[in-house]
Every structure is written in structure tokens, then in C-alpha cells.
């Protein structure tokens, strides 16, 4: 059981100067509260840096050492940082100190590669030699399994994705899980017995060569054993190369997964640019239409007033026309130009003409001509108004402009999206991504070739084993004396090897069932869905949610992935030979209140020592105290001193 007692940081990220804190000896949960950008992830990285020498940022990207020196301290001339932790493991006290400083001959370091890290390990107050220190660290907390002890809650869901996939990262994680669970103890024994069996077979050949009756078989067997040794060596070499390449492929896959989003962003940016080009063409076409339409825009603006003016003028035109007509008719009747009345068609007598003349107003000539002039003026204006009204089409104008504005807005929106994307992309990220894809293809080809080689060597070994088996059987019939003894030793070793080989499978199966049972138990504690009965494990430790009717839940939300992964971590801790503390940043991810409450209550059961990094809104201190009660051992706050300086304050 590994327990962290104290951590001491010097100019590590936001933690300026020397800052340290002691963790309680009692089992339970310690909580560090900090708002965004106060250094919670940095604190997780302090543990990670001390234990495995790595600093990982969001998206699992390795952070440059140069950027991890406290900025204020760096501006004051500081060029290094250090993290020291005091540990207890199997009753012994350890102190691990890891320092990062500029390489020799680099007075002005500026990038990650300008730095070098060094560490030393003390056990019981005595400094261990580098070799001893390396062995001890590998024993206490191997890097491969650190992801199950120190993790960012927001990345949890990836584990489950990986374990369900056939990726090399998935295989690595499965192997790390088996390592935590202690399977290598058994597999190493099995492999040692295989080596012993090979030696026993070689001894049989040697003994047979010493006997006249069996010499011929002994020679053949020796030659087959020699061939087997060569093939086995070849197979080891190939497998070791394959392992290395798979490791490289896993790292590239990991990198590519991380950059998958970046690749998608590049594609999206290119697509947006194409869409913007098409929209700009539309805008240009609309502008040509707008230019034509705007020639008569002024009429459209006052169309309502024009219509009202037309109505008024039309009315006035009618009035004036009647006035002019009446005056003209009366004049014609008075002057006798017209013999009969145009209305009743009766003849107009002299007396009637006299009456009409008497009714004619004085100055009539002048009034009539004024009315005629006004009528002409009204008609001129009417013509102009009609002409403008015909041109005025506000609806068409409105539609053209609306279409133009809509497209312009679409362009602005897309340009905004592009700006946002470009903020997320570094300038050389595109080249890096292409390089990564090329490297992936090359590694993939090499792996395929090596896998073929491994299969061929395996076939040859099998053929060799068949021959050896035949010769062994012939030898068994003829053997006596030394050969007989050697055969007995070989048979005994063979049986023990077979026993261990079978025990590996049996133990693996038992482990999987234990992990499945524990993960199911934790899952039921964590989930808020009463119809979920538990989890089912597959060969690579991937977990599937099982409904209470026995069917699998095929599709899972991000929240469900998160809960399943937490269940797995808890189950692994419960079954691990290498037990340790859990340090988790943002354990709640995007989970809702019900799940959060369940997680808080389950945290103390997940490991003996649990260190949680949260912001107060995520887990209000009052709620944490109420839920954890006596199992909440300590609380700290990450307090802002400046944008680049945070202090740890105990509550």
C-alpha cells in the first residue's frame, strides 16, 4: 500500500516559491478547492511529475518544462522547479525529489528540450543508488499503471472507449490492468518454467547422444533443439521489435486521438471557407440586383404618400374637369352655339338663353382659364406620381435586401467560427498532423510485416516441436540409464510448466470475475438508473452496462462512460496488488447532481487515500462535509495571489 504523506513544491507552475502540505495519516478523502486557472491540474501534475517525471496538460498533451516554471519566479531569474514527496510503502519511508533545471551549457533556456530532469530517492533516510532507485520506483508505482492512480476525471471516458477497441493503446491499458492485478507474477513463473523445459529437452538430447543405441536420435534431437533455440531467439527479437513498434503505434494513436479533434477542426475550417466563397458570390450577385433596384428606392420609401397624393389629385382633377365642362357648356348655350340642351335635348329658346346669360358669373372667362391651368398642372403632377408609383416596389426591394443581409450574416457567422477554430489551432499543428499520419502509415506497414514474420516463425517452431515430439517418443522406447533420467526430468518440468500455463488462464479468469463483480458493485452505488443491474466484463477488461432484464445496454452517453470508468478504477484499486492513493482532478466531469452526490459518497470506498481537486461550485464544501462526514480528512483552498501565483491555504 502506497501512501503520500507530504508534498513540497518549489516554483512549480502557479505555486510560487516553496509551498508544501501534509496529508492526513488516516484513511479518507482530502479535498483541494480552486477556481478555474488557480492550479488544480498543476497540483495533479505535481504528483505526476514527482512520481513519473511527466507533466500532462489538457488533452493528454505533454506540457513543456519551460512553461512550468512559475512565471513570476522566472521573470525574477529562476530557471528551475522541484517537487518532493514523502511516501510510505510496505512499512518503509521514502522521500522522492525530482528537479527540472536547464541543461548544461544552456544559460538562457527557452523550450522544453533545453531542460533536464533529475531525481533521487531516499529510503529510511538513506539515498539509494540510481539503479536501486529505479527498481524501487518501478515497484512502488510503475508508469504504465499511473493513469489509474493519477487522473483527470474529464478524460475518464476515454479508457472505456479504448478498452472496447482493438487499438494498441487498448492492449497497453489491458496489460497495465493485469499488471496492477498482479498477473505478471504468474506469467513470469510460467515463462521461467518454459525456459527450464527447454533446458531439460536439451539435456535429453545430450544424454541420448552419449548412448550408442540412441545416438542417432540424440543427434537429430540436438539439431532440432539448436534450431528451436535459434527460432525462439528470432521470435523474441521479432516480438520485441513488434512490441516496440506497437508501443510507437499506440503513442501515435494516442496523439492522433488527441489531434482527431484538431483534424476535424481543420476540415471544418476548410469547409467553412468554401461556404464563405460561395456566399460571397451570392452576395456579389445580390449587390448587382440591389444597385438596379436602388435607382427607384426613393419612390418606394414614399409609396404610401405617393398613393395618397394620387388619390387627392385624382379627386381634384375630377372637380376641375367638371367645372371646366360646365362653364364651357353654359358658354356655348348662352352664345347660342348649341341649339338644344345636352342633358334634356330640348331646344333652347331665346328666353332661356337670356336666363342662362344672367346666371353666368362675371369674369367667367378668367375663372375658366385658371381652372384649366390648374387642371393641366394637376394632370402633370398625376403623370409624374403615376410614373413614380409604377417604379415603387417596396416589397421587391425589401426581399432583395433581406436576402443580401441574410447572406452577409451567414458570412459573418462563418467567419466567426473560423476565427474561433483558428484560435484553437497552432500554426504548425497542420504540418504536425500530416507528419503524424505519414508516420502512422509507416509504422503500420512495419507491424504488418513483422506480424507475418512472427506467424511464420511460430509455424516453424510448431513444426520443430512436432519433430521433436516424434523423436522423443522414439527415444522413450529405447532409452535407459542417463537418458531415462533426463527424460523423467523433462517430463516433470513439462507437467509443472503445463500447470503454471493453465494457472495463468485460470487466475486471469478469476481476476476478471472479481473485477467484474466489484465494478458492478461500485457501478450500482454510482448510477442513478435503477434499471441498470451491473456491468459485464470482456477479455480486455472493457465493461458493458447490463439491464436488469439481462440484456446489454448498447449505446452509452458520455456521463455513463464516466461512471463506468470510475467503477473500473475503483474495482482495480480493490483488487490490486499495487494499491495506492487516488488523485483525481474534476471527478464529476459533466455528470448531474444525482451522480455527483453518489460519487462523493463512494469516494472513500475507492481507495484508502483519496485526493480530490474540485472547484466549489462543483462540490460545495458544506455538501462535501455533510456527505463525507468523518471520512473527510482535510480541506485546502488554492488562493489567488496574482494571475501567476497561487498559495495553498489549509481550511
Amino acid at each position: 500500500m502506497l501512501r503520500i504523506k507530504t508534498i513540497h513544491m518549489k516554483n512549480f507552475g502557479a505555486f510560487k516559491g516553496d509551498q508544501s502540505f501534509d496529508l492526513p495519516d488516516e484513511e479518507g478523502v482530502s479535498i483541494f478547492y480552486g477556481e478555474n486557472m488557480r492550479g488544480k491540474t498543476t497540483l495533479l501534475n505535481a504528483f505526476r511529475f514527482a512520481l513519473i517525471g511527466k507533466i500532462i496538460g489538457r488533452g493528454r498533451r505533454q506540457v513543456s518544462f519551460h512553461d512550468m516554471i512559475n512565471w513570476e519566479a522566472r521573470s525574477e531569474g529562476e530557471r528551475s522547479f522541484e517537487v518532493r514527496i514523502d511516501l510510505m510503502h510496505a512499512g518503509a519511508e521514502y522521500r522522492l525529489t525530482r528537479t527540472c533545471k536547464p541543461k548544461k551549457g544552456t544559460p538562457d533556456p527557452a523550450v522544453h528540450d533545453d531542460y533536464v530532469t533529475e531525481y533521487f530517492l531516499e529510503r529510511g533516510g538513506h539515498i539509494l543508488s540510481p539503479q536501486q532507485a529505479e527498481l524501487e520506483l518501478e515497484r512502488i508505482l510503475p508508469e504504465q499503471i499511473s493513469r489509474f492512480f493519477l487522473f483527470d476525471g474529464e478524460l475518464l471516458q476515454e479508457y472505456e472507449d479504448l478498452m472496447h477497441s482493438e487499438s494498441d493503446i487498448g492492449r497497453k491499458i489491458s496489460s497495465a490492468i493485469e499488471r496492477i492485478l498482479g498477473l505478471p507474477t504468474l506469467t513470469k513463473s510460467r515463462d521461467s518454467l518454459k525456459a527450464a523445459l527447454d533446458r531439460a529437452e536439451a539435456n535429453v538430447a545430450l544424454a541420448a547422444q552419449g548412448d550408442q543405441k540412441t545416438r542417432e536420435y540424440g543427434n537429430q534431437l540436438q539439431s532440432l533443439v539448436d534450431e528451436r533455440d535459434i527460432l525462439t531467439k528470432d521470435l523474441f527479437r521479432q516480438e520485441s521489435e513488434l512490441d516496440e513498434l506497437r508501443g510507437r503505434k499506440a503513442a501515435i494513436e494516442d496523439d492522433m486521438r488527441r489531434r482527431e479533434r484538431m483534424g476535424a477542426l481543420f476540415d471544418k475550417r476548410d469547409r467553412l471557407n468554401e461556404e464563405i466563397d460561395a456566399l460571397k458570390q451570392h452576395v456579389d450577385e445580390r449587390i448587382e440586383e440591389v444597385k438596379i433596384a436602388m435607382n427607384s428606392a426613393w419612390s418606394a420609401v414614399i409609396r404610401t404618400r405617393l398613393k395618397a397624393a394620387v388619390d387627392e389629385h385624382r379627386k381634384r382633377e375630377n372637380e376641375l374637369q367638371s367645372l371646366v365642362n360646365r362653364a364651357q357648356i353654359l358658354r356655348e348655350l348662352a352664345d347660342g352655339d348649341e341649339q338644344s340642351c345636352p342633358t334634356c335635348l330640348q331646344t333652347v329658346t331665346e328666353e332661356a338663353q337670356e336666363i342662362i346669360r344672367a346666371q353666368l358669373p362675371t369674369g367667367d372667362e378668367k375663372a375658366s382659364s385658371e381652372a384649366q391651368r390648374e387642371l393641366a398642372s394637376v394632370r402633370r403632377r398625376l403623370d409624374a406620381l403615376d410614373e413614380q408609383l409604377a417604379k415603387a416596389n417596396p416589397e421587391a426591394l425589401r426581399q432583395i435586401w433581406r436576402s443580401l443581409e441574410t447572406r452577409k450574416l451567414e458570412i459573418y457567422a462563418k467567419q466567426g467560427e473560423i476565427e474561433e477554430i483558428e484560435r484553437q489551432l497552432s500554426s504548425d499543428a497542420e504540418d504536425e498532423l500530416r507528419g503524424l499520419r505519414r508516420e502512422y502509415d509507416s509504422v503500420f506497414r512495419q507491424i504488418t510485416a513483422l506480424e507475418t514474420g512472427v506467424a511464420e516463425t511460430g509455424e516453424k517452431l510448431e513444426e520443430n516441436a512436432n519433430y521433436r515430439d516424434k523423436i522423443q517418443k522414439s527415444l522413450d522406447k529405447l532409452a535407459g540409464g542417463e537418458t531415462d533420467l533426463a527424460i523423467k526430468r523433462r517430463d516433470y518440468t513439462s507437467r509443472v510448466h503445463a500447470l503454471f500455463a493453465a494457472s495463468v488462464d485460470t487466475y486471469r479468469e478469476q481476476l476478471r470475475h472479481r473485477v467484474e463483480a466489484d465494478a458492478s458493485r461500485f457501478f450500482q452505488q454510482l448510477t442513478t438508473e435503477p434499471e441498470y443491474a451491473g456491468l459485464r466484463i470482456n477479455d480486455s477488461y472493457g465493461l458493458t452496462i447490463v439491464h436488469r432484464d439481462g440484456s446489454d445496454i448498447p449505446v452509452r452517453s458520455a456521463g455513463a462512460e464516466h461512471v463506468v470508468a470510475l467503477s473500473l478504477v475503483a474495482a482495480l484499486q480493490n483488487n490490486a496488488q499495487l494499491r495506492g492513493p487516488i488523485v483525481v482532478d474534476s471527478p464529476f466531469g459533466r455528470l448531474d447532481g444525482g451522480h455527483r452526490a453518489n460519487i462523493v459518497e463512494t469516494l472513500p470506498d475507492m481507495a484508502d487515500q483519496v485526493i480530490v481537486l474540485v472547484y466549489e461550485e462543483e462540490l460545495p464544501p458544506a455538501r462535501a462535509r455533510e456527505a463525507l462526514k468523518g471520512r473527510l480528512r482535510a480541506e485546502w483552498t488554492l488562493e489567488r495571489q496574482s494571475a501567476r501565483h497561487t498559495e495553498l491555504v489549509k481550511q
Partner: protein, 123 residues
């Protein structure tokens, strides 16, 4: 008592303050010329209910012959302002008032799209 000038204008001008607005309006409204933009500004003033008046400080920009070759502008203004005896003087006033209404300050161009899209719909 102010006596109305008896002769109408032969040339129309834009005040120096409105020159910038006119330039911006041409661009923002995709107008083919400054005259079309000035007519649009005039229409804005009419629609806003601007009353008769005169503009002081307007220079000489267009000859009325080139501004209103078919007399349509004059006829429309006379129709909408029947009591006006000096229509081109009023046209000048309305154009300058319209430009003043379109002014959004140095930083922003006139919102032609807004003005067009919010045009009164037919009943």
C-alpha cells in the same frame, strides 16, 4: 417676419457636414450615384414627416437639370407639399434633412438595410 425668397433654386447643394454621410450612404446602399443616394435621403425625410424649410450652408453640387431631367422630382414634391412655391429649394432642404437622419456618426455607416427592410408594408 421672414419673407419667402421668390425665386427657386437653379442648383442644389449639400452641407459640408452631410457630404461625409452622402459618401457613406452611396457605399452602404450600393447606389449608382450620389444623386440616387440623395433622392433616397430626401424620401427618408419626407417619410419622417419633415416640414417645409430651407437648408443653410448648402453649397452648389448639382444643376437642377441634371438632378431632375424629367421634372419628376419637382412634380412629386409639389404634389406632396402643395403650398410650396419653390420646389427645388424644398428638395435641397429635404435631401439635407434626410442625410442628417441617415447619419450614424463616424464609426457606423448608414443602416440602409434596416431602413429598407422596415419599409411600411402594403395594407
Amino acid at each position: 417676419m421672414v419673407t419667402e425668397k421668390l425665386t427657386d433654386k437653379k442648383t442644389i447643394g449639400i452641407t459640408s457636414a452631410n457630404e461625409r454621410v452622402l459618401t457613406d450612404l452611396v457605399v452602404a446602399g450600393h447606389f449608382g450615384s450620389e444623386i440616387e443616394a440623395a433622392k433616397f435621403a430626401m424620401a427618408q425625410a419626407i417619410e419622417a414627416g419633415t416640414e417645409r424649410g430651407t437648408s443653410e450652408g448648402a453649397g452648389t453640387k448639382w444643376n437642377v437639370g441634371s438632378l431632375d431631367p424629367d421634372g419628376a422630382l419637382k412634380a412629386v414634391v409639389e404634389a406632396l407639399y402643395p403650398e410650396e412655391k419653390l420646389p427645388y429649394r424644398l428638395v435641397e432642404h429635404l435631401m439635407n434633412e434626410g442625410l442628417r437622419l441617415c447619419d450614424k456618426g463616424d464609426a457606423l455607416p448608414p443602416d440602409v438595410a434596416g431602413m429598407v427592410i422596415s419599409l411600411a408594408k402594403e395594407e
